[in-house]
Point group: C2
Chain length 588, copies 2
């Protein structure tokens, strides 16, 4: 029994000043967590109970699917991460340190290398496979902007697992098993989720899906088709196959265009001075060339130009995902200064590309299809060029998905409209393939006695982040509303009595009876705290059932409240335990 | 059920080359742990099960005594450890790192500062106290010599708790409760222990006791009185009160003593050239001055001289414990070179002490009592001085317990003989007092509305080290022999059958029945592995009950073996489950 006279808990009236999102605000105010460092939180007794319940659900399902639990150190020697290149690729996101002997170490952000080497160490035959191993472990990432409490920390609890198979069919099966287990886990945790196609990020590999909890405060944005099943992280949306433009266009020509520094002014100028006969010019007829700076993990920088239709915005995050592990930012003035050939506001394809005078790598958004004609910069101040046809008049170094996906964009699967929403990444399943096994030499003998390289999957659930995600889904303005499966207790018993009065005696008795019945009880046994304050605390803490022993005891009843529905009923004293048990067993 | 055809396990025939102690050797060979880094181990599935069972026992007893579980980050900002001086005092033992913003961090070795600040943050009144908080958490220490597998690692699992009381009586009670809980924990884990007086080390504070498992490979040595209850870490042995020497001695005089570079040659010279009338000279009449080098945490070094009776050895570790946090080593040639006044082999008190020409701090072993007379160096080559009386002819800067404690030394409590043994430190209880609360400003209002500083205790159990300690106690030359409370499974079922034969069918059936009966089963279901190899593996893994379905099945019996006693009996097939259950419930 957790008595509030003894529980290490202080609820706060005011929101912490650094809290931007409901889960952060409420978990701190309700005394579940407390900030200990930038991106580092201390779990207080109630929060720790929730975390452990989440962890237990994850563990149970991982065990049920046949994965085996191990546990690696977090402090790891540089060498293995050097072998795969991740020592460098992780860039500033890796916490690095040097021991007393001068040897380099890191704090593990994920453990692909270690799992690969462990399997290599113990296994040698196809008969040993498949195997799936996992750990639930504290991870470290030196996030540039730790934020939103548990949602993006620098030290956090993660379940990471890895599957090892002899062939692609095996990997597909292991992947499907993990994906199913993840569905069961999130269903038990009560977190709504969408499974979306994802980018592979810094990991390498092929098929990859994310489990996103569709919550407005999430850092990820994703698209969903309004008609078919397509869903993807916006970073990972591909435009699908777009047919080339087969129209015939006049020869390109320069167009002096004074006072047209923006797409809007340019379109207006076009419609006024060179109106089209078929329809007015729009921003979609213009090609905007945007200059970016890539920072590679080894510290070198590179200038990159991206060409997109003028009416669309460049999505730096989406570009970054495709150019991982490089970090992408807009080119700043100092960057422009290094390319004096560029005429800002009038940059055109003639001056871009590795073969051009500037030598700047030039990528086109996939919507700039071969054969299409554009109005774009002529690399001269106040001059544009029209009818510049892709493939006829200019080329680039490649294509990229560069534009910000907008609601109404066509679904790459069925062409219907996409809608856009935000979400929190709560899980990630990933067909890594042979990259790590190849680099680290994980081979086994196959049926024919031949050495073959093992193929791997990697799968992650943010365990501490799941706690915050649940809090994001289950709360109202008064406080938290935990699902039963992860609530820190089953019932919150409030006594409004004074010292030694009937109410206090009845509440003490009931507290023991509830505990005897196998329920986890938080008992607000404080004397001298007003009922109003106690009710507020109960709402803030968010235990699913609240039982109040108060005035109605005189009529022989005790109040049973449901934190989720807000319903309350007066139950005869003798029936309270069975009533609470029934509600509890129904899982409401 | 853990099937050996699926369990992620490979037993090894050969001892790992770096394994010095049985627990390390056997835990690696039996596939419980595997080295991942210097002083860092990966827990494989069986080892992880043992660790979690140990952890659960610790948690249960901490909860039962009313301590509340929380969990801090391991990655901590410098600032709080700077406030208490530990950022510096921990010296090279602290893992330090810098984040992407250039801020200093450490990996927590213990969390006194964080717990103190957390209580300061939430509590403000005497009514809130006492409170005991704990965590079970991964700790980091950059040990100079990580060794012996889990016994001294650089990353390890520890339960650390802290008590907070308003006054000394409260602290004494919290301390006693922790001490009692620790006794219950070690009893349940089956680890024999001795509670010994301990030094406070780098922690500051007053009363301190260690729980040592008396095992020969342990790093700690401790004394026990052969008569009374006295027991202490040798570092912490105090000589008790020794009476001053009241005899009268002649005036001191120089004694040319050629060819006496050692105590033995000096004693022989004395007995030959200036024989005593009452008894022969012995080493105990000579005063040996040993030069040491202290390295302070801030990186500065200091030369220290220690005077001990010539027949005793200097115990550098014991001296270090008293001069903590300084590190102590013998003064090397380069160190001597900085003190040209010192005549090596003939160093005497006249040249020592902060007031002497050398300025070297000089401490005397506590057995060099006031009034005692000595033969010692005259600071001239081949000259000694005799009848040099402490207090009359020389003084020092203080006393210290400097000599290596020997079996037969007098007990400081009852003067009977001490005996010496070695042990592994498995727990530590410690009255910290007000040091941290004072430095970090943890005060509460007392009954009279006055701010008073809280007094603290700190208490630790090495959870991963406990696993190794259990293995040190419970093993034989064939393998491990786990106590039931922490065994990774309850029963190890060996089938010696071939594919689809009666033995295999019976073993499959029995495996399910044992599991149905609520037992945790390791099932050696491998086909084509010889019974001999399977028995060897069973002995190595060390599950307390081994059941063998083999040839005797033809006579209707199955063999039940006890890994601890080695006893084996043939049990009728129908009785096996109840027999195993009975043995299991008896806890044998």
């Amino acid at each position: 029994m957790l008595r509030l006279t003894q529980l290490f808990l202080r609820t706060l009236r005011d929101d912490p000043s650094d809290a931007e999102v409901p889960s952060h605000r409420l978990l701190v105010r309700a005394g579940y967590i407390r900030r200990a460092a930038p991106g580092g939180y201390t779990w207080l007794p109630l929060g720790w109970r929730v975390l452990r319940k989440v962890e237990d659900i994850v563990r149970r399902e991982m065990d049920a699917m046949g994965a085996q639990e191990v546990h690696f150190p977090a402090l790891l020697p540089r060498e293995n991460y050097e072998a795969t290149g991740r020592w460098t690729e992780y860039g500033d996101n890796l916490f690095r340190l040097v021991d007393r002997k001068g040897a380099d170490y890191l704090l593990g952000p994920t453990h692909e290398e270690m799992f690969t080497l462990l399997v290599k160490d113990l296994y040698s035959s196809y008969k040993d496979l498949p195997v799936s191993l996992y750990q639930i472990q504290t991870k470290y990432r030196d996030e540039a902007r730790p934020r939103a409490g548990l949602l993006r920390g620098r030290e956090f609890l993660m379940k990471d697992s890895y599957s090892f198979d002899i062939d692609d069919e095996g990997l597909a099966l292991s992947y499907a098993q993990h994906r199913d287990a993840y569905e069961r886990i999130f269903q038990q945790l009560g977190i709504p989720y969408v499974i979306v196609q994802a980018m592979s990020g810094a990991m390498g590999g092929s098929k990859s899906e994310e489990f996103l909890a569709p919550i407005e405060v999430g850092e990820d944005s994703f698209v969903r088709c309004t008609q078919c099943t397509y869903a993807a992280n916006t970073e990972a949306v591909t435009a699908g196959t777009i047919a080339p433009d087969t129209a015939t266009y006049p020869a390109s020509s320069d167009l002096p265009s004074p006072n047209c520094p923006t797409i809007a002014t340019l379109v207006e100028y076009l419609n006024t001075h060179v109106p089209r006969t078929d329809r007015p010019w729009t921003g979609a007829d213009t090609l905007k060339n945007v200059l970016l700076s890539l920072r590679h993990p080894d510290g070198t920088t590179e200038t990159l130009a991206v060409g997109v239709p003028g009416h669309r915005e460049v999505d730096v995050k989406r570009i970054e995902a495709q150019l991982s592990p490089a970090e992408v930012t807009a080119l700043d003035d100092a960057g422009f200064a290094q390319h004096p050939q560029l005429v800002r506001g009038y940059i055109g394809p003639a001056m871009l590309g590795t073969e051009s005078p500037s030598g700047i790598r030039y990528l086109l958004d996939s919507s700039v299809v071969p054969g299409s004609a554009w109005v774009t910069g002529a690399n001269t101040k106040e001059v544009h060029v029209i009818n510049l046809v892709h493939g006829r008049d200019f080329t680039a170094d490649g294509t990229i998905e560069a534009v910000h996906v907008e609601p109404g964009d066509p679904c790459p699967q069925c062409n219907a409209s996409l809608e856009i929403a935000r979400g929190i990444e709560i899980g990630h399943v990933f067909q890594l393939g042979r990259k790590y096994a190849q680099t680290l030499g994980l081979q086994v003998l196959d049926q024919n006695g031949k050495q073959v390289t093992v193929t791997m999957g990697s799968y992650g659930i943010g365990v501490s982040r799941a706690v915050a995600s649940i809090a994001e889904v289950f709360h109202d303005e008064k406080g938290l509303k935990w699902p039963r499966a992860v609530a820190p207790a089953d019932v919150h018993l409030v006594s409004t009595g004074k010292k030694d009065d009937d109410i206090t005696i009845a509440a003490e008795k009931l507290a023991h009876e509830l505990e005897q019945a196998g329920l986890e009880v938080i008992f607000d046994d404080r004397i001298g705290v007003s009922p109003g304050v106690k009710f507020k605390d109960a709402e803030l803490l968010g235990i699913p059932t609240v039982v109040v022993v108060g005035k109605s005891l005189a009529e022989g009843t005790i109040e049973v409240r449901d934190r989720h529905s807000g319903a309350q009923e007066n139950v005869p004293v003798a029936d309270v335990v069975s009533r609470v048990l029934a509600v509890h067993r129904e899982g409401r």
